[in-house]
């Protein structure tokens, strides 16, 4: 199939339409506004529904309504808007309503900046709203992966009746790259016999609800969710290893910093430094076991975690995976400033010096 040049955000919208997205509800925010713009034109052409909501809060609740009534529903936003959606996301999780949520992360905290950042890692991977829940978090690092993941996200959401987050960043949303519209393997999905879509002769009424006022019942829901999350963790964890077979220094990074790290690897290898890249693709479930096994290898001497976050967020999961077997250094830039290839090379060299 021929490659086509697509802008990230428009490709996200087109991918959703190709995945059978029935409806999109969203609100303008930079740097993701091209998603609702594209949807407003093209989703109705495919018989779908587009509504520009009055707020992010309303958008996610429109998703809850449509998806609770059995539709494939999606919303997208960027960091401050995603904060507003957290209420709706916890209701989706509690009522087990599948939905796809795209976050083109920008710098924070607060209003921050409109440039790319990765400060929403905790929010995405730890639930984000109130209560014990998880969303599946897919972290693409180029436009091709983004369109592949968006398409698959609807199936993952439907399979587990759980919200799925595409955690991209402003760079992926704004840049243009050649992509291929590959056929995505369709999963064998259960019927949505739980949907509140009107009884139409059904012998019972369906209820979409996250209220379980009896503590025992609420505990049962939580136990059920915990079992479901364990199942997702078993089946859906994904990561990529690049030149890790003999690596002395392993860079951990996801999304945009991972592609910067790939360039850094070339220079490091040319300089005779055996560097590799461990790239988590699902941030939840995190590839903890794979990272643990890599850290146990004798040739691995040190890790360098690189993020578009000054404090480091994924580094907590990296530490849980490495579990003290090897030292972990950190390089982070935030607020729309990206770590450069040169900074990564320097930090990688320093990380190795410390263990010599």
């Amino acid at each position: 199939m021929a490659k086509e040049l697509w802008k990230g955000n428009e490709a996200i919208a087109e991918a959703a339409i190709r995945a059978g997205c029935d409806c999109f509800f969203g609100y303008p925010i930079t740097p993701q506004s091209e998603v609702p713009e594209y949807m407003s034109v093209h989703l109705p052409e495919h018989g779908g529904v587009f509504v520009q909501s009055e707020s992010e809060v309303a958008a996610i609740n429109m998703v809850y309504g449509a998806a609770g009534a059995g539709m494939r529903a999606m919303t997208s936003s960027s960091s401050p808007g995603i904060s507003l959606k957290q209420e709706g996301i916890t209701y989706l999780a509690g009522a087990e309503v599948p939905a796809v949520i795209v976050n083109c992360m920008r710098g924070g905290p607060g209003l921050g900046t409109i440039q790319p950042a990765q400060g929403d890692y905790y929010q995405a991977t730890r639930g984000g709203g109130n209560g014990d829940y998880r969303t599946v978090v897919l972290a693409p690092s180029n436009v091709q992966e983004t369109v592949d993941f968006v398409q698959e996200a609807f199936d993952i959401a439907d399979q587990y009746r759980n919200p799925v987050v595409i955690l991209a960043d402003g760079l992926i949303g704004q840049m243009m790259e050649p992509i291929e519209w590959k056929p995505i393997a369709k999963r064998d999905l259960p019927p949505k016999d739980w949907a509140a879509c009107g009884r139409k002769g059904r012998d019972h009424h369906n209820v979409i609800n996250s209220l379980f006022i009896d503590p025992e019942e609420c505990n049962q829901l939580n136990n059920h969710l915990a079992e479901k999350y364990a199942e997702i963790a078993k089946n859906e964890v994904r990561w990529e290893e690049v030149e890790c077979e003999d690596a002395e220094l392993v860079i951990t990074a996801y999304g945009t910093p991972a592609r910067i790290a790939l360039t850094a690897l070339e220079t490091l290898r040319a300089d005779g430094i055996k560097a590799g890249l461990f790239r988590p693709i699902t941030l939840w479930p995190f590839p903890e076991k794979a990272l643990h096994e890599l850290a146990a290898k004798e040739h691995v001497r040190a890790f360098l975690d690189v993020e578009m976050s000054s404090t480091g967020q994924m580094i907590d999961d990296v530490r849980l995976g490495v579990e003290g077997q090897k030292p972990i250094s950190f390089l982070g830039q935030a607020g729309g400033v990206m770590p450069t290839v040169e900074e990564i090379i320097e930090a990688a060299k320093n990380a190795l010096k410390e263990v010599k």
């Binding site: 029935d22 409806c23 509800f25 529904v49 509504v51 909501s53 009055e54 707020s55 809060v57 309303a58 958008a59 609740n61 429109m62 998703v63 809850y64 309504g65 449509a66 998806a67 609770g68 009534a69 539709m71 529903a73 209420e87 709706g88 209701y91 009522a95 949907a195 509140a196 879509c197 009107g198 009884r199 139409k200 002769g201 009424h205 369906n206 209820v207 979409i208 609800n209 996250s210 209220l211």
Partner: protein, 249 residues
């Protein structure tokens, strides 16, 4: 023997949890009967709020969704836009609709969303134990205005039916109460009319039902009914607030 009266098929057999003298039971019945009589029940999808009627999903026999506090109009928008031929309604209280969900109800009305909102206004937060609502009357006591609501502290109470009527997308708004048989009949007629207009795709339809809260008003059911008639109906006038089809004629 002929059956002259039976419980509406629009209601389940679940026992209502409402306090003695509360009007929710009557209002549930009227909504359920309206859906049945219009032949809409089997297709209908309802959205219930956070507040005293939070468990309404247990009582209505149609498919139901429980919304986050105030968000029912957004939830209903998602449902109705993707199920345009089915009856969709929200059932909301005054804290839910007029306070935390003010943006959602205003914008659903502005867009002319083709669903029906049943707004139960009892001038207080019932479920959380009697706090002041945006609809609490001046001088009315609540646990967060223990000497009575004042204009200085909280402004004047909000008249939602009138406010929403200023929006072109809202085609029908009527305020009713269920204090006696005559008013119950009027309320039923208004609810049915709202659903008919919804199914005619005319626009957003809104029925405000003034309702008692004997528990949190600190009154007997009879006294509460009297208080509603004398005080609430004086500030929140009963009757058709807006009917676009009547205006056209």
């Amino acid at each position: 023997m002929a059956i002259v009266y039976e419980k509406s098929k629009g209601l389940t057999d679940a026992e209502l949890h409402y306090c003695p003298g509360c009007n929710h039971g009557i209002i549930h019945k009227l909504v359920a009967e309206s859906l049945v009589e219009l032949g809409l029940l089997d297709d209908a999808i309802g959205v219930c709020p956070v507040g005293c009627s939070v468990f309404a999903y247990n009582y209505f026999s149609c498919d139901m969704l429980e919304a986050a506090h105030g968000r029912a109009p957004a939830v209903a928008t998602g449902i109705k836009r993707t199920h345009p031929n089915q009856a969709v309604f929200t059932y909301q209280g005054d804290g839910d609709l007029a306070s935390i969900g003010a943006a959602e109800i205003v914008h659903a009305a502005m867009r002319g969303e083709k669903f029906t909102t049943i707004f139960v206004n009892n001038a207080i937060y019932g479920m959380t134990g009697g706090q002041m609502a945006p609809t609490t009357l001046i001088g009315q006591r609540a646990t967060t205005c223990q000497s009575g609501r004042t204009v200085e502290q909280a402004g004047m109470p909000i008249r939602m039916a009138e406010m929403l009527s200023t929006l072109d997308g809202c085609v029908y708004a009527e305020r009713v109460c269920v204090t006696d048989i005559a008013n119950i009949n009027k309320a039923k007629k208004a609810i049915k009319k709202a659903f008919e207009k919804q199914m005619n795709r005319e626009g957003f339809t809104f029925i405000e039902v003034l309702s008692t809260c004997p528990t949190n008003w600190g009154m007997t059911p009879l006294k509460a009914t009297q208080w509603l008639k004398e005080n609430m109906a004086a500030y929140y006038p009963l009757g058709v607030i807006k009917d676009s089809s009547a205006e056209v004629k």
